[in-house]
């Protein structure tokens, strides 16, 4: 259990660091690109394609971290009015459901990336496309892992009966 939590935290730190690094590059590169295009009528040919791939990367890191903080968008019309205990039972069920779906997407994206590998498509500068697409299975894998950690959290909480603090909506 402790090991799991340590792994979870280590992944979160790595994700955050990568996210900050990539977003910084995106801000600088895109700004440079706009300046080059508008003032020097030139530009980096691969920049736009690269930037859009990076959005996907940053988004998956963000999505994975969002599980930890329960920031994923959901319909909370019903749960808002639920008593604390049933809220936690439903959380356990929905976290498990989300983990299952993420696993299915994880498997589907492995099929997708493998077929792209076989086709040897390149994206720019002769870089294979699948290098960039790798984030999709990695992302869904991380999401699945995160939801499973949440499932364990939910079970422990239910067993202990600790009432977590109300968070600001």
């Amino acid at each position: 259990m402790k090991l799991l939590r340590r792994v979870d935290r280590a992944i979160a730190t790595a994700e955050t660091a990568l996210l900050v690094f990539l977003l910084s590059i995106m801000i600088l590169l895109d700004f440079t690109q706009v300046i080059l295009r508008n003032f020097f009528s030139s530009g980096i040919i691969w920049a736009d394609t690269f930037l859009r791939q990076m959005v996907l990367w940053v988004a998956f890191f963000g999505a994975s971290l969002a599980v930890q903080e329960r920031k994923h968008i959901n319909i909370d019309v019903l749960t808002r009015f639920m008593p604390e205990r049933s809220k936690r039972v439903s959380r356990l069920a929905t976290d498990f459901f989300a983990a299952l779906v993420c696993f299915a997407f994880f498997k589907a994206s492995i099929t997708f990336v493998t077929s792209e590998m076989v086709q040897r498509t390149t994206i720019f500068l002769d870089i294979p496309t699948w290098y960039f697409q790798l984030i999709i299975p990695v992302g869904y894998g991380m999401l699945c892992f995160r939801f499973l950690v949440k499932v364990i959290d939910d079970m422990l909480e239910l067993k202990r009966g600790v009432i977590p603090q109300e968070t600001v909506p």
């Binding site: 706009v34 736009d48 920031k71 319909i75």
Partner: protein, 437 residues
């Protein structure tokens, strides 16, 4: 039978609060397995989002909005609008409306406006002897005002989803974010103006003491906000004048805001705050993009199965006039806006609505403005509009009280909504005038 059972089960899981991306993902995978399509096609569709040039605008504008929200910008914004508008009868109320609208345009609609600006302004309203119910309704309503102004995230998202849908159905028509940015300006101003008129009348009736206008106040407020003041003008002017696209505006805004808040105002520390703000803003971006990702597989399936056409034929059997369709559309969207947050509402509902609306002769740009205006009001619609809850929580008032206080504002917004719906030129005039592509 099997299908209905699965549908009911998924609806239950959704209502229990499962993440929407997982629900939509599950629906996609189940639909694919019924159609005997390989599930990896869902990923092919997901990867399509990287073909959209506007994609990069989503993280960049979101980041800029978070930076602005975390710095002292809200304070400077309020000070400036007070210096400029505070002298009017009901001036402070107008200040609330204008500053909240500008703030929401940059941060995207969410509870942020009510918590940050409403929290700042509500005590001042009470202190200046505005009636309590009026003030409570005002800050609650202002929480989602400004969605129609550039560079609001919902506008970008609508444009992107609409274009992706066109691409999937093989149509060439593109809803450009540049056009949408301009289309929202007049309807947005009308919403703010209508609420302002109401507030001024209330201000006069309540005999609120007026503050005299002072040039020196304006001067010092302008000087304080000197670095942020050009931002809206650069964005709107740049796109109107055809100097740059909305996507390029995102790059400029993100870089500029970062430099100004961190190195010039020094409101945020580079090492302590910026990484945290980057992370927080990308949580939202991630949450939105996984929903788009799983929804694209589903929309692809729906298009292949010709579901929008079937829906259109079904609706057409009962409704033949555009006017009646628009009314029903409004009612439907108000319900959607009440139940769902704005981002998933756009991603889930737009793909179904656009083809139907086009068959009824509604312009996709105009539809976008109607759509967002509805969702803006949906935030306030009792019994479960999100702003009512946030406001009740933030100001420690019962939901019933907040709801009651908000009703007159909803009335005004609904009247403006009708104007926006039935006067397409309000949305389309400027896009034609400036010939924005």
């Amino acid at each position: 039978m099997e299908g209905i059972l699965i549908g009911l089960l998924l609806a239950l899981v959704a209502l229990l609060g499962a993440p929407l991306f997982a629900i939509i993902g599950a629906v996609t995978l189940i639909a694919f397995s019924f159609a005997q399509t390989d599930s990896s096609i869902a990923i092919v569709e997901l990867y399509r989002i990287t073909s959209q040039s506007v994609l990069i605008a989503i993280p960049l504008f979101t980041f800029a909005g978070y930076i602005l929200a975390e710095s002292q910008t809200p304070k400077r914004l309020v000070n400036l609008s007070r210096a400029l508008l505070g002298w009017m009868p009901g001036g402070l109320a107008v200040v609330v409306l204008v500053s909240c609208a500008v703030f929401t345009a940059f941060t995207g609609a969410s509870g942020v406006t009510i918590v940050a600006l409403g929290g700042l302004l509500y005590p001042v309203l009470i202190q200046e002897k505005y009636p309590e119910s009026f003030s409570l309704g005002l800050v609650t309503t202002s929480g989602s005002l400004g969605l129609l102004f550039p560079p609001s995230l919902p506008l970008i998202l609508y444009a992107m989803v609409a274009s992706l849908i066109s691409a999937q159905s093989g149509s060439l028509s593109i809803v450009s974010v540049n056009q949408l940015f301009i289309a929202g300006v007049l309807p947005g101003i009308l919403l703010v103006a209508a609420l302002s008129l109401y507030s001024i009348r209330k201000g006069i009736a309540a005999k609120v003491p007026r503050i005299p206008f002072s040039w020196s106040n304006v001067w010092s407020a302008v000087r304080a906000a000197a670095w942020e003041l050009p931002l809206p003008f650069v964005i709107i002017g740049g796109i109107y004048g055809g100097f740059f696209t909305a996507t390029e505006a995102a790059a400029i805004t993100a870089f500029y805001v970062f430099i100004v808040e961190v190195f010039i105002y020094r409101d945020l520390s580079l090492m302590r705050d910026v990484p945290r703000v980057m992370r927080d803003s990308m949580l939202l971006v991630g949450a939105i993009i996984v929903i788009i990702g799983s929804a694209l597989g589903l929309t692809n399936y729906l298009i292949i199965e010709e579901v929008p056409q079937k829906l259109f034929q079904f609706i057409q059997a009962y409704i033949s006039s555009k006017a009646v369709f628009l009314i029903l559309l409004n009612v439907f969207l108000l319900l959607v806006g009440m139940m769902m947050d704005i981002f998933s509402a756009i991603i889930v509902v737009v793909p179904l609505i656009i083809p139907i609306a086009r068959n009824f002769g509604v312009d996709p740009i105009h539809l976008g403005i109607i759509f967002l205006a509805n969702l803006e009001i949906g935030y306030l619609t009792p019994p479960v509009g999100l702003n009512l809850f946030i406001s009740s929580f933030r100001f420690q008032k019962s939901i019933a009280r907040v709801t009651l206080a908000t009703l007159p504002y909803i009335g005004i917004l609904l009247i403006v909504l009708l104007i926006i719906t039935y006067v397409p030129d309000l949305s389309l005039l400027l896009t034609r005038l400036f010939r924005v592509m």
